[in-house]
Amino acid sequence: MRSDAVQTSVQTAATTSERVTVLTGAGIGRGLAVGPVLRMPEPLPEPESTPSRLTPAAELERASAALGATAADIRARGERAGGAAHDVLEAQAFMAEDPTLADDVEVRVGGGLTAERAVFEAFAGFRDLLVSMGGYMAERATDLNDVSQRVVAHLQGVAAPGIPDPDFAFVLVASDLAPADTALLDLDKVLALVTSEGGPTSHTAILARDKAIVAVVGAAGSLQLSDGETVIVDASTGTVTASPSEDEVSAAEATLAERKARPVAPTGAGRLADGTLIPLLANLGSADAAADAVAKGAEGVGLFRTEFLFLDATSAPTVEAQQEQYTKLLAAFGGKKVVVRALDAGADKPLSFLNDSDEENPALGLRGLRALRANEQVLRDQLTALANAAAVTEADLWVMAPMVSTVEETRYFTSLGRELGLNTLGVMVEVPSAALLADRILADADFASIGTNDLTQYTLAADRLLGSVAAFQDPWHPAVLRLVGEVGRAGVALGKPVGVCGEAAADPLLAVVLTGLGVTSLSMSPAALADVRAELALYTLEQAQTFAGLALAANSAFEARAAVLEATTAPSAP
């Protein structure tokens, strides 16, 4: 079955004299870019294991030269990149020069293999060893693969895999990008990202949103674009126009110039066209990012992730150490709302001192509030530190529990929080059971905040970290929206606030739909605030409710998005 989330179409339209191909995918944000395509080189095929026609000595010489040249090349890239990337690349250069690896390669070419095959096998041996060690070491396996591919590319005289690094600005086209690729992305040179796979919550989309890079993801057919070909990438329509006419290019360039000249996006309170207030808040991961969020127009914090305090720790930090960080954060938002999420460990962010058991399905395991409950002192310390910080600052502190799935868990968390001196206690709705029983959960909790990334993962039973099922990870899916609607309806009935703090809130059009479903605040990466604020201002609450009805009535995420897009461009819309 073809998945709806990446359903795309390739249309060809005849213009005066040439064919224009328009690819469509999911646009991230509202940006526009024009520039030449550079494709991410495909991974190299595994070198053949046919016996060498050269002598072992000649193959060894080839291998040594390629290892040395690759090390020098990686080292030079590291010096250009600087910072954290420099250390990573320096370590990779040493892997290419490694004496143990060289010994291994020598044994293998001695057995009659080609230099390519010997290098490939030697790196694969170490990689398998690291993978078998698990955890941090297994993650380093990617580095080894990268070095291995570079050496083999050098031996074969082909382009090395990895992000192209030319001396001009370009539109990067790839099937999808891995975190290791994006770490080295030079944002001054990348005009836009276009991927053929992945949905709006893929790593590429999250990065693009965070760094405000123009991006269209899941654009099928984009790998057919050739290097150097000019394209127009328009995230607001989710389109990539290949080989545009001169008129189209100059129109796009004029739009770009006009946008550049336009004063910075509207600020002030987030509101719909009829004046309904929808506070726009920031998702933050550290207190240091607070000033930037305020500058970008955040009206407060809708999701403050506290994991950074714990990630490098082998035991939980003290109440005092935590209190200092929370005080710094709350002071930056004097008088404003700050929603802090209690430590959310597990699945994609394991913490050994909370849960070090090896779970078959960590996303369904002892994570979120479940892990905190099993280590109640950690939770008590965190809530105490938060209450102390709130007492010495002016901000309006709200605290919520991650991964709540039952009414009973809600009661546990809110009563513990109140006992420790906190006033406003809520829950994250990420599990379908919590959405379905939102009327009972909100009877006890002061507010709910919907984490659409996990809610989508659990509703569609698709691991959000797994590329092969990324197409299911689309918050436009009517099943996800129906659950959001359940929470929204309960909130309206009980007069309790319902926020959204997942990637869905950062999609301007989906943000409008969410307000139509009863959501009363939206929290996102600060870079997305301006686009969402501008989009909300275009529609009334009644229109948002109409759009929500259209999306709920659709059969798929693709149809839901298309139906709402069509309604926004219909004559009745402004």
Binding site: E90, A91, D98, T100, L130, M133, Y136, M137, R140
Partner: protein, 89 residues
């Protein structure tokens, strides 16, 4: 043959960055140094892959060995390095 034992102080053990700093120091010394964890097989201490593949954790004890005139000085320096928290530097 000169030997030194050291207890690993880096908080995450000898993973990529500390291992890289250590193997660079070994390579710079010009002395051929072997490293052994517990009763394991000795690995070339200038080999980052050899070191990483031992999966050395914080608190593990390792043995360094070398031959030659300045082995004493070099091993003293390398053992002292392992006993610092290289992650914190």
């Amino acid at each position: 043959m000169t030997e030194r034992t050291a207890t690993i102080a880096s908080s995450h053990g000898l993973h990529a960055r500390p291992a890289s700093l250590f193997t660079q120091a070994v390579a710079k010394s010009g002395v051929k140094v072997n490293l052994t964890k517990a009763e394991g097989k000795p690995v070339n201490a200038a080999s980052i892959l050899g070191i990483i593949s031992l999966g050395i954790q914080s608190g593990d004890t390792v043995t360094l060995s070398a031959e030659g005139d300045n082995a004493e000085t070099v091993l003293d320096e390398l053992a002292a390095m392992l006993e610092r928290d290289l992650d914190a530097e």
